[in-house]
């Protein structure tokens, strides 16, 4: 599904290398987790994958279902099935959450040459999916993320993901700021989208999310590289011993 090969990325303004050769492959239907110390480049990786400005790819390739995505505009990547649940979701004053969702869904449908969703189908889907995330109709009417609590913003990201039905989902610290119950809701939301050939890349600092979303593969990222890859037990190791042991091991 997602193949990243030797990805090297500089900050455009500073000529500073942040990703120093990332290799990672997420197979269809699998959940990969990335853990790693603060500042190791996890969010940067998610931004580069989704096409944010300000980064310069100096080497390497990224393909999504064998299509080179590095040449695509962000919206083309989105329509190709790439979704990023942001670490810090953005507020858009004056734009209703529903309006935003519908505009996004239809933009992607159009880009793929599909018909627009009918107003009734859309409403039905939103209500259903919002309900399972315990997002009430009041929140759907409010402007996108404006005045939402941290946890509400994260749940809203998952609602968008559920509506857009992407092929490849990247979740950047979706668990941070969530209370225990909200974390279960988010995990349930993710798990219900699992399978069906969908790939996940879950960036997190904590084992507790991975208790609910069982990963197939766990990667450790440090200083702009994937330094270790293993099974779910690797996350437990981090939880118990921190990164120092792993890092000295690979150094």
């Amino acid at each position: 599904m997602l193949k990243i090969k030797d990805l090297r990325v500089n900050l455009e303004d500073e000529n500073k290398e942040i990703l120093k050769g990332v290799d990672l492959t997420v197979e269809a239907g699998k959940v990969h987790a990335i853990m790693g110390p603060n500042g190791s480049g996890k969010s940067t990786l998610s931004y580069v994958l989704s096409g944010k400005e300000g980064y310069e790819v100096i080497d390497g390739t990224v393909t999504l279902n064998d299509n080179d995505i590095l040449e695509m505009e962000p919206e083309e990547r989105a329509s190709a099935g790439l979704f990023l649940a942001f670490q810090y979701p953005v507020e858009i004053p004056g734009v209703g959450n529903m309006t935003f969702l519908r505009t996004a869904v239809n933009a992607q449908r159009k880009a793929r040459g599909e018909q627009e969703i009918s107003a009734t189908d859309f409403l039905k889907q939103v209500r259903e999916r919002a309900k399972s995330l315990q997002i009430d109709s009041e929140m759907l009417k409010r402007p996108v993320n404006v005045g939402f609590s941290g946890g509400e913003k994260k749940r809203n990201e998952i609602l968008q993901m559920a509506m857009l039905e992407p092929k490849m989902c990247i979740l950047d610290e979706t668990d941070s700021g969530l209370d225990v119950d909200a974390m279960k809701l988010v995990a349930k939301g993710v798990n219900s989208l699992r399978g069906a050939g969908r790939g996940f890349l879950v960036i997190t600092h904590y084992q507790r999310l991975l208790d609910h979303i069982k990963p197939d593969v766990v990667h450790i990222m440090a200083n702009g590289r994937i330094v270790k890859t293993g099974g779910p037990e690797l996350a437990l190791e981090v939880e118990n011993n921190g990164y120092s042991e792993i890092l000295s091991e690979v150094a």
Partner: protein
Amino acid sequence: MASFESVEVKEGVDQETVDAVRDVGGAYKYGWETDIEMEYAPKGLNTDIVKLISGKNEEPEWMTEWRIKAFNRWGKIGEPKWSMVNYPEIDFQDQYYYARPKSMVEKPKSLDEVDPKLLATYDKLGIPLKEQMLLAGVEAGNDAEQGERKVAVDAVFDSVSVGTTFQKELKNAGVIFCSISEAIKEHPDLVKKYLGSVVPITDNYYATLNSAVFSDGSFVYIPPGVRCPMELSTYFRINAENTGQFERTLIIADKGSYVSYLEGCTAPKRDTAQLHAAVVEIVVEEDAEVKYSTVQNWFPGDEDGNGGIYNFVTKRADCRGDRSKVMWTQVETGSAVTWKYPSCILRGNESQGEFYSIAITNNHQQADTGTKMVHLGKNSKSRIVSKGISAGFAQNTYRGLVSMHPKAKNSRNYTQCDSLLIGDKCGAHTVPYIEVKNNSSRVEHEATTSKVDDDQLFYCRQRGMDEEEAVALVVNGFCKDVLQALPMEFAMEAQQLVAISLEGSVG
């Protein structure tokens, strides 16, 4: 503050906006011209031209004299220079002051007799001039019952009013809605009493010029206690080249009446600039309420700043009676130069004035716009919400005066003034003037300036919208407070305009 009930913007409108923009493909979509035989008065301005215009309109002598008085005054004053707009000097003698389609020389008695080319023009602009025929039973079917709201239209083409719809139905309600040239003939007492009573002929350079040479415009009178049964609207179209357009609108809301009035404007693309200097006067008596909404979409000039309309407009409402209310809502997207300050004279006790404005400038457009709230009555209230959006090389200035006179005890004003910049070659300026001459009144002013946020745009694009959709969505969100103040029909159009006028502003 107690405010007018606001009209909700329909959910999902933004998507339609985006579609409309895509269909239009970014061009100014009203830039075509109607090929029609015109009759012109000779170029230039002098007493004879003023008399000629008056004569063409078959005006009574008092009207001709009124015009000449204005013309003499105009010759003695100079153009105002205090605004933040730059434009080449206007040669007032190199303009036509009167142009009308030949087919309008014999004024048609009904819309059926109007030149099909003119009707086709309005049809192409999407202006419903058919409604009257529909009512008269000419058109089969019962479309009228499909729950659509009726809007009566006065269509003004260059210097003349082409026709006004729904006149009969309005007449049954006691409402007078006709062209001002007709009102001068048919309702001279009302016109004599009110014309120039809000904007006197001495008011300012452009208003004085307008008083001398106005050709046509709309007249509205709502009798006491009447709630106008439908929205009224005037649609201005400049077609002829090198012709100034000078409309005059007079709206009188008698005691306890209500009317909502809409104004729309477009012009063909031309590479020479054209002058437009309109005057709108509104009289609001005791307990009456007027909503005046404008979607101004005159040709803004091309990307390099050639051509476009120079728009110098004087709009003022006089809230004469106690508890009278007026609400100005404007969406200014067109014109090369805009100089416009719809104002409220809050004379009555507990009178209310509101001003909601979106001004968008792109490419080389310049707008200097805002409002004046002059509080004279006790417990009077005003509210100003201004949203200025600047892109390209454009300059956008909000200029607003709030004045509390000694007698305007316990009055309130709230001003919110937000500017949004797209790119780094444009400018936004806020120039508030505040005068408070009593110690029980309160004036609040808030202003913000921000850049369109790259993170917001990226967020939208990550969800699948292209860059222009993303800008349209974010900017429409920024303007939401004002869009909500518009009547439904206009809210849709305005959202689309916001998007269209920002085409090419990113990337």
